[in-house]
């Protein structure tokens, strides 16, 4: 929605509210937040990872509550999430797609990543144990690191599977810098 359309909507709401006889005090309490949504579709190939990371950081850089470190962290979380989708869920099948949706609020970003990989249907991130250095040495395990990083960086992480349809990872991050609304 353009700025002009938003202003017209606000005027409409104010006029209608007054006609309905609502008090000015209550009208002033009405809050409107403009939330932007961006949706990208990327091919499932590791050559896309760096672009996904750079684009994600760039998208978040438009929000005032996130600093340089946040942009790096969110870019890393995106790389880790998409790596898991490409390598594990799609099992490196390059014909798959990764759908990334950013819902942007001044001090919050919600990132939804959807894939249709077969392996992701049976994945449960909660089953991955906390990173243990000794376990690395004994098993030489390289898996699970990405999920650990995502959980450390993002404030909320949820993985849901819609059987036969898709897998969905939702990650939320709140900005640290206070934003005057």
């Amino acid at each position: 929605m353009l700025k002009k359309e938003l202003e017209e909507l606000m005027t409409f709401m104010k006029d209608e509210g007054e006609q309905l006889g609502l008090s000015q005090v209550n009208l002033d309490k009405i809050k409107v937040d403009k939330i932007e949504t961006l949706k990208f579709t990327f091919p499932s190939h590791t050559s896309q990872l760096e672009l996904i990371r750079l684009v994600s950081s760039r998208v978040i850089s438009t929000l005032p509550a996130f600093d340089e470190d946040d942009l790096d962290d969110i870019g890393l979380a995106m790389d880790e999430a998409c790596t898991n989708i490409i390598v594990h869920s799609y099992h490196e099948n390059i014909s798959g797609v990764i759908i990334v949706k950013f819902t942007l609020e001044p001090d919050k970003v919600t990132i939804t990543i959807i894939d249709k990989g077969e392996k992701g249907q049976t994945f449960n991130p909660d089953e991955l144990s906390i990173v243990d250095k000794e376990a690395y040495l004994s098993t030489l395990s390289r898996g699970g690191l990405g999920v650990h990083i995502i959980k450390k960086i993002m404030d909320e992480v949820e993985y849901t599977v819609v059987p036969g349809l898709h897998n969905c990872l939702t990650m939320v991050k709140y900005g640290k810098i206070s934003v005057k609304k």
Binding site: T46, S47, L49, E50, L76, D79, L145, G146
Partner: protein
């Protein structure tokens, strides 16, 4: 698109591997191809010069984790030289800050192996 260039040289039995670019799931395979045979050597002493490494993901750190056991079992090791704050942060996020040795002085890293 930035990728990864790897420069590998040997000096007094120490392998010095310089990385320039980004180390993620896309570029990790080329580093794996160098580290794996080194880890199978007699006494792998490896210094990773990461001065020009601008980004690493867990897939990149996996390159080192994947070979560290056979390397240390032969009293070898992997040292990191001149790691940037951004790259070091990813090691820290994985609670690996004490797992590897990080040097800001190349000669010091070199001496550590030589002694």
């Amino acid at each position: 698109m930035k990728t990864l260039s790897i420069n590998h040289e040997k000096k007094d039995l120490i392998d010095i591997i310089k990385l320039d670019g980004i180390l993620n799931a896309d570029t990790a395979l080329s580093l794996d191809a160098i580290l794996k045979p080194l880890s199978e050597g007699q006494k792998p002493y490896i210094i990773m010069d990461v001065s020009e490494l601008t980004y690493i993901s867990s897939a990149g750190i996996g390159c080192f984790i994947g070979v560290i056991k056979p390397i240390r079992s032969k009293d070898g090791d992997i040292y990191f030289y001149n790691i940037s704050r951004k790259v070091k942060r990813v090691f820290d996020l994985l609670d690996m800050e004490d797992f590897f040795k990080f040097f800001t002085d190349f000669d010091e890293a070199f001496k550590c192996f030589s002694s």
